[in-house]
Symmetry: C2
Subunit: 254 residues, 2 copies
């Protein structure tokens, strides 16, 4: 590549999160970096977009790197839209989202703000990757991830991605890894266990909690890879059509 | 079926919306209906779940039907989780979401609160359908949809759906239809056009607006069907893996 690639960095934990600071540091080694990220945590926002409220977006300086940074009051998907439509003067060569503090493997992909930003970029025709670490703590150790993130990003810049596909990369919670494994999304879900409480006025309210249940015994899944200390990469598409079921549906009496 | 099916009704426009009242009326003809729906509009919420705020959920009486109704402060996905985990004493035989005031065809499926409720039900192993009408107005005419909704729901109860598949049904904005067409999701997107304004304090803010662009010329898509006055049914999956791209990714130097 002759000129430096333009890289958009987004996340869902908020612009000051250690995960995104690590991602910015790695991307600064590869290209010209513009950050557009939420001003507060947006975990669990799925692919929400803001249509009934106004959005603010302001230039900020968080640390000393060469990157340009903007914080927004919107969701991760809003940040990508703002970047493409209002901030950048050309389409970025790559969009990276994360590094998320916590897993976005298997079914978590559909609840994930981190992955919604990557998917939004993909919808807009930008090669995109979401990165997540299976450690929810704010002080997680992101150092061992850096060389892998750089390599995966360079691969995407070199090979590009087909239209309609983005990458979902998850790192096990360890200082060393067995390697990288290309996987499919495991069939798993959350079994909810609402924490039912009563407020000081006597009114019942709930906190959403839950237990993750993996019913998929396949050894080609992201859950298997992560449990066996591999970095998982799942190619994710946003054509949600269950193509295989179309012929069967055509036999229904509709 | 010997005993009446248990049907969960959800939406994203809020529990008093005419769309959900129509859906409840149809479902009352088929089974025992329990409604758990947001107390205010949740459009564009994607698959958001509420993890940093508390949830309220209260029994309400909106009109005279035999259905039981609950309104919740949560998102559409939260409503399904609350229903399954806190309200219903057995797993419902069917979950229907909508009728949405506005389209959820093609890429809108990923932003849609209506479809996120159906997908959440699917994840929890409940056969599920999202219904939407291509008319955003509160006073849209839902009457012509009723017989089709009943037929599609009865088909799902009769034939069930494979694990991992839910249906996305969209109705064109017309009083009569050419029929029902099983489709794939069109490859389309929104080109954002942020409406940039200045508030009374001189601060710039944005409203998200956009133009829908369908770059998919296929005649087997939901967009084609709707433009030609067919009711579109897309089988939707939540395994987002782009399986076809796995062998190619395995050739990358990762």
């Amino acid at each position: 590549m002759n000129k430096k690639p333009l890289i958009l960095v987004v996340n869902d934990d908020g612009i000051t999160a250690p995960g995104i600071r690590t991602l910015i540091a790695v991307m600064n080694q590869i290209g010209d970096v513009v950050v557009v990220a939420p001003d507060s945590p947006q975990s669990g926002m799925g692919h929400a977009v803001t249509i009934n409220e106004t959005l603010y977006c302001n230039k900020v300086k968080i640390d000393d790197g060469p990157q340009q940074e903007y914080k927004s009051t919107g969701t991760p998907a809003d940040c990508v839209k703002l970047a493409v439509s209002e901030i950048l003067d050309r389409k970025p060569d790559l969009c990276v989202s994360g590094i998320n503090h916590g897993s976005n493997s298997s079914i978590n992909v559909i609840y994930s703000g981190t992955m919604s930003a990557a998917v939004e970029a993909g919808v807009e025709g930008i090669p995109a990757i979401g990165f997540s670490l299976l450690d929810y703590s704010w002080n997680a150790n992101f150092e061992p991830l850096k060389k892998y993130i750089k390599k995966i990003a360079l691969n995407v810049l070199e090979n590009s991605l087909p239209d309609g596909v983005v990458l979902n990369v998850n790192f096990p919670n360890n200082a060393t890894f067995e390697g990288v494994k290309v996987c499919r999304q495991a069939r798993a879900n959350w079994v909810e266990e609402f924490d039912r409480r009563t407020n000081p006025q006597g009114r019942v309210y709930y906190w959403l909690t839950g237990k993750f249940v993996n019913m998929d015994k396949g050894e080609d899944t992201d859950e298997w890879a992560l449990a066996n200390n591999y970095i998982s990469i799942v190619p994710v598409q946003f054509d949600l059509t269950a193509h295989y079921f179309i012929p069967k549906l055509n036999n229904w009496d509709l």
